[in-house]
């Protein structure tokens, strides 16, 4: 036995731990892998891609039609069609590489994003609480805020994959459809605006996902609350604005507030925003800020609670 002791003994790991911040990145990586393993997630990505490709090809189509306007009519399946009639519908989406193109694109992506985030919330955070895997994470040398940061990073990557990154691709595409040097030079602020819009979405929605998932944990109530926030409140907001003649009712619609914040990043003229009337940009920023503060305060309270490790 003594010989064996000298020959075979525990050799401790001699590396240097990289600290809790690196752990948060690792946590985000693992969380993303957890999500992309699910076929359902790929189905939702496919839906998001549909919206992206619609904008992508429609933007090309608009330019092509405009180039054909010299002849006033386009032969569509052999039938001459007035070009203006074709572009009237597309004009509403502003598929011309302006700030509204990117704002509208992110607005429409919201329909898929909301469902993706409801799924991500229940899978990434709700499951940890519900199936007791939270102590597994917290037994590592990381704090609870690092855990939340890791999960937020994963949610943030999802948000940007669905909104900011494809919007940036649309910006690049728009430059290639026009005179690219002029477009890129003159519209660099739009690129920064897209990034700003993405940042606002990332911060607000990740914090909101965390807070609602920590609060509700189960998928069904989580989805109900998200649908309430992103489907019901917009409906109600529109009617309340009409009924009360007060556009500030639109502030109850968080997605609209995020849209306004995004458009303010894109330096959009407030008068051109649809649906009208809209509250001021400042009010939208305050509303979004309040949501973030409330969610952070709630998370802080929950994190200090004993149940988080129960």
């Amino acid at each position: 036995m003594a010989q064996t002791d000298t020959l075979l003994r525990y050799r401790p790991w001699r590396g240097v731990p990289q600290g809790p911040w690196q752990a948060a990145v690792a946590l985000a990586r693992v969380s993303l892998k957890l999500l992309i393993r699910r076929r359902l997630m790929w189905g939702l990505f496919a839906l998001a891609l549909l919206v992206f490709f619609f904008f992508f090809y429609a933007q090309y189509l608009v330019v092509w039609i405009e180039n054909q306007l010299a002849t006033d009519t386009i032969r569509f399946a052999g039938v001459p069609v007035n070009a203006k009639n074709l572009t009237r519908f597309l004009d509403r989406l502003s598929l011309n590489g302006t700030e509204h193109t990117f704002g509208n694109f992110i607005w429409y992506q919201g329909y898929v994003l909301v469902i993706v985030l409801a799924l991500a919330g229940s899978v990434l955070i709700g499951n940890d609480f519900f199936h007791g895997s939270l102590p597994f994470y917290l037994s590592k040398p990381i704090g609870r805020w690092h855990y939340l940061l890791g999960k937020s990073l994963a949610v943030g990557v999802l948000i940007n994959l669905l909104t900011t990154v494809p919007a940036m691709v649309l910006w690049v595409q728009a430059g290639l459809l026009y005179d690219w040097q002029t477009y890129y030079f003159n519209n660099l602020s739009l690129l920064l605006g897209i990034i700003g819009y993405g940042l606002v979405l990332t911060v607000t929605l990740s914090v909101l996902v965390m807070a609602t998932a920590v609060w509700l944990r189960r998928t069904v109530p989580l989805a109900m609350v998200w649908m309430g926030l992103f489907a019901l409140l917009p409906m109600l907001a529109g009617w309340l604005v009409d009924a009360t003649k007060d556009e500030r009712w639109r502030l109850i619609d968080l997605w609209n507030n995020l849209y306004l914040c995004g458009l303010s990043c894109l330096q959009t003229d407030h008068a051109t925003i649809r649906p009208a009337p809209q509250p001021d940009f400042g009010l939208a920023w305050i509303a979004v800020g309040l949501v973030v503060v409330v969610c952070l305060a709630y998370l802080r309270r929950r994190i200090q609670a004993v149940e988080i490790v129960a």
């Binding site: 359902l40 939702l44 799924l119 519900f130 189960r218 998928t219 989805a223 649908m227 409906m235 009617w239």
Partner: protein, 347 residues
């Protein structure tokens, strides 16, 4: 630990043999109680319902269903204000600059006293809106159709009904699968098809409570048009609730994340397909429910063309037949599928 009681009690007495029908009935009750115990869902449902009722109440309180109180366009007044503005005294006052209006008068609104015939005809035409807005019957009809369109078709059929039925019906199996406790039911001596049916019957009261309860609540909050909508549309709403509950119960039995699948179905398939022209809309459950409501409103003499995308409504007989067939068919399909599916959530 091993007591004498233990040795004797476990032997069944002949008079009290287990009954599969009793087990089925107990499972129905147990499924109902499982939802009751997940209080969180109940609170969230009540919260959402309260929000809708609050909104309907606010609009009703401000006479928002009434055309006279609706806003014409952005930065303009209500239809009533607009109608008054088009009357001769207001047009003349605006032309002389005695009164300030938000929007400048349109060319055809500017009075032309030098051509009395034309001016008389113009005044007559521009007074028609005011005259129309004085008709109680017209205003009520318009209120009813506005209420039907926005509250019943958009909010109830487009949001509340699918969400509540999705939440409760898919949770019948979804909650058990999520918490990995389905094994306890699956090890009981009950036929699998019976388990499926019992779960459905246990969850149906919750779907009815929130969907139909919500329907009644928003009907009462909607004032006279709401109450009339209640009396006309309740059979369609009831059928829709059972049909959606059947569908989402099936989704819950098949998919591991039924809510996400259901949301995609409701907010992409139903929302888009039901509004499409052509035959594709025949695949949408909402289309048949809307057809029923459309026919009800048409029979009551209302201008149904105000309802959204319902130019090709099927007859009530067809709609009833399809919905009933769907309900029965989906449940039979679910029972058949469930008796063949393996659940390995515990592993």
């Amino acid at each position: 630990m091993t007591s004498e009681v233990a040795d004797t009690v476990c032997a069944p007495t002949p008079a009290e043999r287990p009954s599969v029908l009793r087990a089925f009935a107990v499972l129905v009750v147990q499924s109902f109680q499982r939802h009751w115990r997940v209080r969180q869902m109940g609170w969230v449902s009540l919260g959402l319902l309260a929000l809708i009722v609050f909104w309907v109440s606010v609009v009703t309180e401000r006479n928002g269903w009434n055309l006279a109180e609706r806003r014409v366009r952005r930065n303009t007044g209500t239809y009533q204000q607009e109608a008054v503005r088009l009357l001769p005294p207001q047009r003349y006052a605006a032309a002389t600059g005695d009164e300030e209006f938000v929007t400048p008068p349109r060319p055809y609104e500017i009075p032309n006293p030098f051509n009395p015939t034309e001016e008389a005809f113009r005044s007559l035409m521009l007074s028609i809106p005011y005259a129309v807005l004085q008709s109680e019957q017209f205003l009520y009809t318009w209120s009813f159709m506005t209420y039907s369109r926005w509250v019943i078709h958009l909010v109830f059929l487009g949001f509340a009904l699918p969400l509540f039925t999705l939440s409760y019906a898919s949770a019948a199996f979804g909650t058990d699968r999520e918490s990995r406790s389905l094994i306890w039911i699956m090890t009981r001596p009950i036929p699998r098809s019976g388990i499926y049916l019992a779960k459905f019957l246990g969850t149906l009261p919750w779907c009815l409570l929130f969907a139909m309860g919500g329907f009644v609540a928003i009907g009462w909050a909607g004032g006279p048009p709401g109450r009339e909508a209640l009396s006309h549309y309740w059979p369609a709403a009831l059928t829709a609730t059972v049909a959606f509950a059947s569908l989402f119960h099936l989704v819950g039995a098949i998919f591991r994340r039924p809510v996400v699948v259901g949301l995609v179905y409701v907010f992409f398939f139903e929302a888009v397909v039901a509004a499409l022209p052509g035959s594709l809309k025949l695949l949408s459950l909402t289309f048949y429910v809307r057809s029923l409501m459309y026919n009800e409103a048409a029979e009551a003499g209302y201008p149904v063309e105000l309802l959204p995308a319902m130019t090709e409504a099927v007859s009530s007989t067809t709609a009833w037949s399809v919905l009933v067939l769907v309900m029965v068919g989906i449940n039979l399909l679910g029972m058949w599928l469930f008796s063949r599916l393996e659940y390995r959530d515990d592993g």
